[in-house]
Subunit: 252 residues, 4 copies
């Protein structure tokens, strides 16, 4: 039974309490980020760590982000050596499993190909602290440049996780982004906000010399701006956006 | 009873004559500016000064701009010390109350996070008088840089109002915009027009050396261009846009 | 009876044979250019010269371009001194009447505020011959800078017509565009194509040093590219776009 | 009988086995690329080589890309001298026939006027290897500059095919693009991906100094990224996009 077909209430964006809830979170996340320009062919994927801490629920191959329903989500093990090779899994599923292994605090992972973020990662400029968007990443966003190609091996995926470090996001040079969150709310927020920050920087670069937020206040401002209870609000508004009568439409 | 559910005629954009009308104006304004790219998560808010001159009707927390209905509007007092702390109020409600206190001529206030305006405010360049859009701000748009963070204290909010001065708009550096108007028509016009002017400047900066409108004629041209009766027309057209069969859709 | 309410066939874009057909052409033209980004508040207007050669059918004040129906079109005389002051007429109607007086070959006129064209006109750079779009204007597009304000007097309007000369378009510096055509097909084509050419130039300016079409071949290439029979095709496709089940929607 | 009106299953994007299937592929391809910004008036066309190897199925004149149905597709011979002059054929049909003659490996051809690609081709800069998009063209995209005008003669069309060489795409300077594919899947992929790569380069040029993928690894990365089985997935997702309840709409 999908959310669309009868769930009594809204789906929480907090860590899932069941496999079914995890699958619904992944499907919603995919449809949400599609609305914000993250769709590229049938590529990109979101995942959520299940209640057992080791099962990962992740979008399977074959659907575009805007189309994903709970039945398009598969379960794989992050602790089995070849879990990422589960039939139907995206080639780059290993980036998710390695991120979960490296970061026990992480409950959700997203990899996509958003245009402005890729453009930024294809230059020698770092993300600048120009707006509240960039404040979600007060210590900046590192760039992984171990390969410009698909990240399909555990070795490359571990290297991505290493560059990510304790942060929320990493730019995969010439390729895309990987973002993580405490749960699906935070991962979606990171994906959308990173792309918006990159787009805003693109516009600002043309308008004049940048006047960024001073680094010394970024941490404090970030903590005030990004609080868990706010993220609940955002999640519910996103769900209403993609899950209304006009599912998949930007307006309800 | 909302406008959608039975109001006999269109809602005026002139100063409201009742609490119900004020709430409808706020809801319509939120939905209108959402159509023009001002939506950011569930953030941004519009408010209207009520008929008693001291009650402020303002969007509450929890809804995205495109979703706001009259029942999502709360009443707070601008003259009580802690009015802005009313449960459900956005953290930055205090920017509205301080603007109303500082400017008795103001009947509506909007704070949002539009991308091109934020980008402009994150550079060292002022808004240029490139088009009729910029003419709504013939004396330019000042920049508040007292903090890059949320404006949640009366002290910061008073400082924003001070930078605003007698004008229609202020850029909050690295954050967003605050615009004011004689009534909701003018505030919506200022919000939409400032963002359009910033976007136009972004395009022009790439196309060549700017040839702005001479400052010495700006005041006169502005007065001819922006007249109250025109603003009535704009308001009615915006209302038809968001309030038709396809409420929330860009087309009716 | 409007086209929507029962016309047996499609509306031709050739010079109108009746007042009713002229009004339908104007309404369709307004809705078409709205789809291509020309809408700005309730501003901008299209007009058509009627079968008598001296009556002008023009959008009246009060509607946004996307909303215009035949009943929103008024008839004025281009040969009466004060025809442009007809009640309900846009303030800048005089630009239309003066263009018709100066150019007996012109059957339709459009004035709008498209963003990229205004941005181009607010710089010191001319339109470059970068693509087939610009080829519609093989001799370039002149800039009127007699005033940055509204063009409401016959004197200013005559000056605009003088700068237009024998061409299809003029940039009104810091304000908008005026385009003309043999009939409504050509005027709509000029409006849409000028804005697309300006947008393309904006993109190209960032991508590298421009390699324009040589001026000496522009005239010949333009004549081959822009033929009356092609324009019939375009007009019919635009009408299908705005006049289908989803009138006003971009897709049918 | 069109696909919409009763085909039992999805239309494959592999080389067509019948004339009917070829026509459906062409119609779908036109509607798909329209969704990705390739529409320009009623211009642009897709074609597919039929099962006999010498009949070409190509969009006829008169419809915009978003409107094309199988009945808007005509059959012409690529081996008859004047096949491209078939009544109803676009003037530039000869570019298709010459590409098929020069490239026996090619099963589908698309010519369109996408804005960012044209802008790139109107500058002195080549396509840079900035992202996986550009990897579809690991050896770069050559520029045809034999004429800036319409390509309507066999001589010009042969010259375009010569510049195309063994590649997937050619920029027609000041005009548009020509892309080819083993079948319609690959041709659509090339059209969409070239335009996305050009747009991404536009954004990156503003953001900083480019850090492209090293040419020496481009071939290998390209082969891993672009595999035939993936292209099947993309084709099916595109077909669902344009062929659902909301045919022609971006969302289903």
């Amino acid at each position: 039974m999908t959310h669309q077909e009868g769930a009594a209430g809204p789906i929480s964006g907090r860590p899932p309490v069941s496999a079914a809830q995890a699958a619904e979170q992944v499907a919603l996340a995919c449809r949400i980020i599609a609305e914000f320009g993250h769709e590229d062919l049938t590529l990109g994927h979101a995942s959520v760590r299940g209640p057992d801490g080791r099962t990962i629920y992740i979008k399977r191959k074959g659907k575009a982000l805007r189309e994903v329903l709970p039945q398009d989500v598969i379960a794989i093990s992050s602790h089995e050596e070849e879990g990422y090779l589960t039939p139907g899994a995206h080639l780059e599923t290993v980036m998710h499993t390695q991120a979960y292994l490296a970061r026990p605090d992480v409950g959700a992972v997203i990899h996509t190909h958003p245009l402005h973020s890729i453009a930024l990662g294809a230059t020698n400029h770092p993300l600048a602290l120009l707006s509240h968007d960039a404040l979600l990443f007060p210590d900046g966003v590192p760039v992984f440049d171990g390969t410009a190609g698909l990240v399909t091996s555990p070795a490359h995926a571990r290297a991505v996780a290493q560059v990510l470090g304790a942060g929320r996001a990493v730019l995969l040079r010439n390729h895309g982004i990987l973002v993580v969150g405490e749960d699906i709310r935070w991962a979606v927020l990171a994906a959308i906000t990173l792309e918006r920050a990159a787009r805003l920087q693109f516009v600002a670069m043309t308008l004049g010399a940048l006047v960024p937020i001073p680094h010394e206040v970024a941490g404090e401002l970030s903590a005030a701006k990004y609080q868990a209870e706010f993220t609940d609000e955002y999640w519910m508004a996103w769900c209403r956006m993609v899950d209304g009568a006009g599912r998949g439409a930007c307006r309800d």
